[in-house]
């Protein structure tokens, strides 16, 4: 498996090499299941939702269609072979259902399954399926379909490698339940079922391996997909959740340019849009004509950072990496590009996360120290430090790297900047042909979902999902502890250790959290009021992923 991302649209999800985490289908959103009780963010449920943007106030209205502007296009709808970024997950949410769904508090709750239960040592997970659910083609949801899905995921070059450490064997327990055996205890297993690998695809589609004609159990079914232009879905009249969805149909429009998408929303061309442009939030958040849903503070959001290749000269030198880190004035960067919305965040975890430590040891901005480190390291690298910093072709990112480059130059680091196309960008990350790239990833509802990006086990050439190729045994130990331990306290310690190890190793130079948001004009209501089957609140919009099930038109 290789490519960790969409190779598709140019500025489509160009921004910040996004893709990555979500694209592999390994990312999800929210807090760790088992820790939800200790989470400090339980106030989510208590928030009065009536006045919140995206929460409907009146009686639901049936009928009508909406148009949603997405930031990227996808390469297809087959979970085992296509790269689901946030837009891909949004498409998938419309036509498929996942076995579990993330609740508003960040826990994973059964969705297409009625229960997902582990054995005592968390190595065998039994999934019991919801009865009476049918696919768009009329075929029933049963254990055979689910088994076939997981087999197909395992066989795929894309998802197989990611599942390798998770799923070992599986058996059909009954017509409506399957048991999955893991090679080691996987605490976050239910979270995996809420990601790309949790979508259940109809048997007919599995057999045809069609990436263009999705057959799911979802609230909508495909009408038409014209890549790069639109994807249209219509209401599934036999949807298993009675009364849902309200809309007759949804049209998704990939509009890569942030500014174009914002213009489209302003001109009424689209009703809703997904964006990570902080300028849009600044422009519209106080405008009564729009409802702006910010990324929830639940779980891990995507991080914006510079990824360094620890296997090539001179970034293989820790002193150089330290110099680079000390030289970046993150406050200034965020001030320049955050539109007053983004906040500096020098950690894998956001403030409020239980995994966040008071001090993770990440190098502070210190130009003098950076200069000293450069002087110290230079003799080992031919007398001067030369760095090549690149990003994908995106006007905002291009400005960011120019600012970073000028900061590095001030510290005496010769920096050349360049732009690369999305596809080349990802290829180079995977194959290690880069020194420093801007990147954006790590959105997850459980930190274990990010294991594959950081583990030394995936850092080996020629193709490495641990792009920075950082091989730190202490980091691996902490990651393993977090993965296998069911004790919340142990996990907190483990992931705090992960954060500290990253600060020490410096494969990633942190900047800020991604400023995802979902914006709607007032023609759409209730578009962020996703519920679980029992009526309790689900997470809804997070990290650029949207579910249209609860939305209705106002007019």
């Amino acid at each position: 498996m290789a490519d960790s991302a969409d190779r598709y649209d140019r500025r489509a999800f160009l921004a910040r090499g996004a893709t990555t985490a979500a694209a592999l289908g390994l990312a999800g959103v929210g807090l760790p299941t088992l820790l939800s009780s200790c989470s400090s963010t339980t106030n989510n449920k208590a928030t009065p939702r009536l006045s919140a943007p995206g929460i409907g106030t009146g009686k639901p209205k049936r009928g009508g269609t909406i148009t949603v502007g997405l930031n990227s296009e996808i390469d297809g709808f087959l979970p085992s072979t296509n790269h689901f970024d946030n837009s891909g997950l949004t498409y998938a949410n419309s036509v498929y259902d996942t076995l579990t769904m993330i609740a508003a508090d960040g826990s994973a709750k059964p969705y297409l399954a009625t229960s997902v239960t582990p054995n005592p040592d968390l190595t065998v997970w039994t999934i019991t399926l919801r009865p009476g659910v049918t696919f768009h083609d009329g075929s029933p949801l049963n254990a055979d379909v689910v088994l076939a899905n997981i087999q197909s995921l395992q066989a795929s070059a894309l998802t197989g490698q990611a599942l390798k450490g998770v799923v070992s064997t599986m058996v059909k327990v009954s017509d409506m339940s399957v048991a999955i055996t893991c090679s080691e205890p996987i605490v976050a297993f239910p979270h995996y079922l809420a990601t790309q690998v949790g979508y259940v695809v109809g048997m007919a589609q599995l057999e045809s391996q069609s990436s263009t004609k999705p057959i799911g159990t979802g609230p909508f079914s495909l009408v038409e997909w014209v890549p790069n232009d639109h994807m249209t879905v219509q209401r599934n009249p036999h949807y298993w959740r009675a009364g849902l969805p309200y809309l007759d149909g949804v049209t998704y429009r990939p509009i890569a340019e942030d500014q174009s998408r914002e213009n489209s929303l302003k001109s009424g061309t689209i009703d809703l849009m997904v964006t990570r442009d902080p300028n849009a939030i600044r422009d519209l958040q106080h405008d009564s004509g729009y409802q702006v849903v910010r990324n929830p503070s639940v779980g891990q959001n995507d991080m914006d950072f510079v990824i360094l290749n620890t296997s090539v000269d001179p970034t293989n030198d820790l002193v150089v990496r330290q110099a680079l880190a000390h030289a970046i004035d993150v406050d200034q960067l965020v001030k320049l590009f955050g539109a007053g919305i983004a906040k500096p965040n020098l950690s894998l975890f956001a403030p409020g996360s239980p995994y966040r430590t008071a001090d993770n040891g990440y190098p502070k901005y210190d130009l003098a120290k950076a200069k000293a480190l450069v002087a110290q390291a230079a003799p080992n690298h031919g007398g001067s430090i030369k760095i090549s910093l690149a990003t994908i072709t995106d006007p905002r990112l291009l400005n960011e790297i120019q600012a970073i480059a000028s900061m590095w130059e001030l510290a005496g680091i010769t920096t050349t900047i360049s732009e690369v196309e999305q596809v080349t960008f990802i290829d180079n990350l995977v194959t290690g042909h880069f020194q420093a790239y801007t990147d954006e990833m790590f959105a997850a509802t459980d930190p274990d979902l990010n294991y594959v990006w950081m583990s030394p086990t995936t850092a080996n050439p020629p193709i490495a999902l641990n792009f920075s190729r950082n091989k730190d045994d202490a980091l691996e130990a902490a990651l393993q502890q977090g993965r296998t331990s069911s004790d919340p306290a142990v996990r907190i310690k483990a992931y705090q250790e992960v954060d500290k190890r990253l600060s020490a190793d410096l494969p990633y130079l942190w900047a800020s959290q991604a400023t995802w948001s979902l914006m709607g004009s007032n023609s759409v209501e209730n578009f962020n009021n996703l519920t679980l089957p029992d009526g309790s609140a689900a997470l809804g919009f997070a990290s650029g992923t949207f579910d249209p099930t609860p939305a209705w038109r106002k007019d």
Binding site: A2, D3, R7, Y8, D9, R10, R11, A12, G69, D75, G76, A157, S211, T212, V226, P227, N228, D229, H230, R253, I255, A256, E257, S260, R261, N263, S264, K266, S267, G268, T269, I270, T393, E421, Q422, V423, T424, I426, D427, V430, T431, I463
Partner: protein, 314 residues
């Protein structure tokens, strides 16, 4: 006449052949192993086998070209390695958009340029002529990538008259369809107006001085009749030739406009394919675009021959 057309047809075929060779070689000119370049890290044995088959890379260059061109003549232009969508399907989406863009923009340009040129030519060097000629100079100096964003800002974002992005097909209703193409068409028409206006004005002024116009006046025919029946046609040849020329500008403009307005025409899809390193799509789209360019130019030439009885002699 027949000989003339035959000669031009032979030229057309030769040029199309050369274009196809160029497009064919495109993939083969990729440095190193083209399959690697195309597949990138997606390089699994299965994908490679499919691609090898699709490109016919395991055979000699000549027979590869033969297979490739025969496939193309059968309408099989290959498929995207990303979306699995066939290039023919993508073209099915793109071509109607491009056609509509071209037609609407050119009709708009003519609707503006012809009356302007008529009024200016009837009273050359008077106020209207000076204003019109100056403003077309300004338009000539307004590239699409400058005019386009301005138009969006004013008419889509501020006035909300038309959508800022996207294309509504004719099947979604005439109104929505027209609304979605009008702004991009205006952006495209700006350049064409200038070309048409200037060619037509110069020609009209020359034609209006012809004896046959005085002759028509001496018959007591009305000015309008004379303009329509005696002046427009002989003056329209360089206009038509200008339309042929304008296709080149349209190409440049259309690419920018399609990206700006997110219209999945050939330009937009081509730019996306280039960014996605989707070489087969680049190859197919470029082939079709270049052939279309040549064929349209041929069509213009042909039309000129039909319209101007004097050329037919030659």
């Amino acid at each position: 006449m027949l000989r003339f057309i035959a000669t031009r047809l032979v030229q057309l075929v030769v040029i199309c052949f050369l274009i196809s060779v160029f497009a064919f070689l495109l993939v083969h000119l990729l440095p190193g192993d083209p399959t690697l370049a195309i597949l990138g890290p997606n390089d699994t044995p299965a994908a490679r086998a499919v691609l090898l088959h699709q490109l016919g890379l395991n055979k000699g260059l000549l027979s590869q070209y033969g297979t490739w061109i025969i496939n193309i003549l059968h309408g099989n232009l290959g498929a995207s390695f990303l979306t699995k969508q066939t290039v023919s399907n993508a073209l099915g989406v793109a071509v109607p958009i491009d056609l509509e863009l071209v037609i609407v923009s050119q009709v708009l340009a003519l609707l503006v340029a012809i009356p302007m040129a008529l009024v200016a030519a009837l009273r050359p060097n008077r106020i209207f002529d000076r204003v019109a000629t100056t403003s077309t100079f300004a338009m000539l100096s307004l590239p699409t990538f400058v005019a386009g964003p301005l138009l969006v800002l004013v008419f889509a974002v501020t006035l909300k008259w038309v959508p800022a992005t996207g294309f509504n097909r004719l099947s979604q209703g005439f109104g929505p369809n027209l609304k979605s193409v009008i702004l991009p068409s205006v952006a495209l028409a700006i350049g064409s107006i200038t070309v048409y206006y200037r060619l037509l004005r110069a020609d009209l002024i020359a034609t209006l001085q012809e004896d046959f116009v005085t002759m028509a006046r001496s018959k007591g025919l009305s000015t309008r009749y004379i303009l329509m029946r005696h002046v427009m046609r002989p003056s329209s040849f360089s206009l038509l030739a200008g339309a042929g020329i304008s296709i080149g500008t349209l190409f440049t403009g259309a690419f920018v406009v399609e990206v700006l307005f997110q219209l999945p025409g050939i330009g937009f899809q081509l730019v996306n394919a280039i960014y996605g390193r989707d070489y087969l799509v680049v190859q197919g789209m470029a082939l079709v675009a270049a052939v279309a360019f040549v064929v349209v130019n041929f069509g213009v030439d042909f039309l000129l021959t039909v319209l101007d009885p004097r050329v037919r002699r030659a």
